[in-house]
């Protein structure tokens, strides 16, 4: 019996659990095949907090989420999609063009974005909550993660790229960097998936003319 076969038999033992095969919860396709391949369970998690760390505002972080938001808000039993403290007001015609049902979108502004984010995550009234926070401590992110599980909500936290150095209890962390016709995505943390980098091209990024 070869060494590989021995190892395989050993691993069949029911007491041994392997991280990679950990049964993922419900997932939601991101709409990008290459990204789905890279994500645990082949899609965005339906529940939990994910962090997107973009090198610069506008690196493509929202376009990446748009197909998933469209799928969530157009479902027959869609709950809300709440945007907490976005840097600008999202442009409604572009959201509608991306397939997002605007009657499920609410924008929350105010002095306490962290509190509003946690309330929206834990309320159970939302399918997805997007939040833009400049500073969040690890302990606060842990609270957000628990609130997202309580409310069965997908929380997306957008932070500056510098936050990658800080440890985070989020289920998934992606680093984003814009490319001329797409985006480079680095999986910084994911349950049961090795870290890696993929490059996506925007489906509509057709360079017609070099200026």
């Amino acid at each position: 019996m070869g060494r590989g076969a021995t190892l395989a038999r050993l691993l069949e033992h029911p007491a041994i659990w392997r991280g990679r095969s950990a049964a993922p919860g419900q997932v939601l396709s991101s709409g990008f095949v290459e990204l789905d391949e890279q994500l645990p369970g082949k899609g965005w998690p339906r529940t939990g907090l994910i962090e997107i760390l973009a090198a610069r505002f506008g690196s493509g972080e929202l376009s990446l989420l748009l197909p998933a938001l469209a799928a969530l808000t157009c479902a027959a039993t869609a709950r809300w999609c709440v945007w907490v403290a976005p840097p600008l007001t999202p442009f409604a015609p572009a959201l509608a063009a991306g397939g997002v049902a605007l009657d499920r979108v609410a924008v929350v502004r105010g002095a306490r974005p962290l509190w509003a984010f946690e309330q929206a995550l834990g309320s159970g009234a939302c399918d997805a909550v997007l939040a833009w926070l400049h500073q969040a401590k690890s302990r606060e992110i842990r609270r957000l993660q628990l609130a997202a599980e309580r409310g069965r909500t997908l929380g997306v936290l957008f932070r500056p790229r510098a936050a990658a150095r800080q440890a985070s209890p989020a289920v998934l962390r992606l680093g984003l960097e814009a490319l001329p016709a797409g985006v480079r995505i680095a999986v910084l943390k994911a349950r049961g998936v090795t870290r890696g980098t993929i490059e996506l091209e925007w489906p509509d990024g057709r360079p017609l003319r070099r200026g």
Binding site: A55, R56, F57, G58, S59, G60, L62, S63, L66, A76, T77, A78, R79, W80, L88, T89, P90, F91, A92, P93, A94, L95, A96, A97, G98, G99, A101, L102, D103, V105, A106, V107, V108, R109, G110, R112, W115, A116, Q119, A120, S123, G124, A125, C126, D127, R152, E177, A178, L179, P180, A181, V183, D204, G205, R206, P207, L208, R209, R210, G211
Partner: protein, 472 residues
Amino acid sequence: MAVIRPRPSGPSRRTPVASLPAPLTVSIPAGATDSAGSPAAHRLWMAVQLPEAQELKELQRLALCAQRFTPRVSLELPDAVLLEVRGSLHLFAGVEGMRRALGAECRRLKLQPVLAFAPTPLAALAFARAGKPRAILDVAQLVGQLAPLPLATLRWPEAVLERLERVGVRAIGAALRLPRGGFARRFGAAQLASLDALTGRMPDLRTAVKAPERFRRCCELGCELTSRSAIVAALAPLCAALGRFLTARQSGIMQLECRLTHRHAPPTRCVLRLAAPTADGERLAELLAGRLEALSLPEPVRACELRSGRLLPFAPERRSLWQPGEQGGSAGSEAPGLIERLRAHLGPEAVEGLALLPAHRPECAWAVTGPPPVRANRRAAPESDNAGAARAAPRPLWLLPVPEPLSMRDGLPRHRGALRLLTDPERIESGWWDGRDVARDYYVAVDEDGVRLWVFRERAAPHQWFLHGVFG
């Protein structure tokens, strides 16, 4: 003058022919203020007859003021209010006292009514309409006093009054002397019933005006309080009482005002507005606590008071077996709660919705609205109408509130370095009808970091470049 004593049990000898029997059983609708069992002798009606027709709102205002005198106030459209005052007459020192008190009330409302008292509502109205401020307290005198009044005071249809005049009947007394059977046949059963109600032969049922209910309760504190948590604790029993009040009436409220009274400073007001009617005292207390936290108090609080808004019909929602968000679950009922909590803490404008407007200029193609209406479920997924149009012309996910001027080098725009234009121009122009005329060529551009931007070039002379959006 003949004095006639009409009684349901049997008319007196001098009563005109009673060929039609008086009605014996009358069904009494809910809210009626008279009953078949109690003869007119036990009632005293006051008619408040105004000189001209009033709007319903004015009459209702008068009726609400008149509820000071008796709970049995009814409207007589379009220009009179009726009060049943037998029970409360002694509280106002009799008819004259009542007349004085109500007269004062009417002067306050800038009305000059004629006040008449009679045992039946129609008789009181007839006296008041004839301009005679009489007070007939005894049923026995009623018919005698009514007899000389013109029939016009009963406000019968013109045609009927004309026919009666042709046979020489102009006064109420003359009409009462006509034979009942012939009267009903020739002038209508409704007019006979009106005569019966006038003389008290038949009960006249009136629906009482009901004042809208509100909750208002004050709580004097044992000592002056400054701590928010102590004030919240003092408000808790008030909120619980409000919850019981609402539950008992199967109503909910959408507005609640809390007033905190101080020693010198004017009371601090804190108004809570809700997204959907609620009757849950605990939730109201929780929301109020959130609002109080953000409130600045000028002085310690001596008393607190809760005042509810209008009561609204409220049906408690059904609870579903499935949790919201689960397979088979509905969109959930937590959404109003979330909005209210966010609004209570962050201010009423903190939650916004988005809407599309049919306009070609990007600044005008959308609007910020109130939070979207809360619907439990929808039937089908809505189809995005302009998905096709969007594929033809890309739109950025973020639009700057005001276009940002860009610097130029060699006729090309710069934004943290040179921009590269990716697409052919998309021309958007005109808007003369609201004074914000535009003439722009839009491009998708990419900067040195690879961030895609939406830029435009003015078609007018300086050909300035602007940044208008970020694709995100």
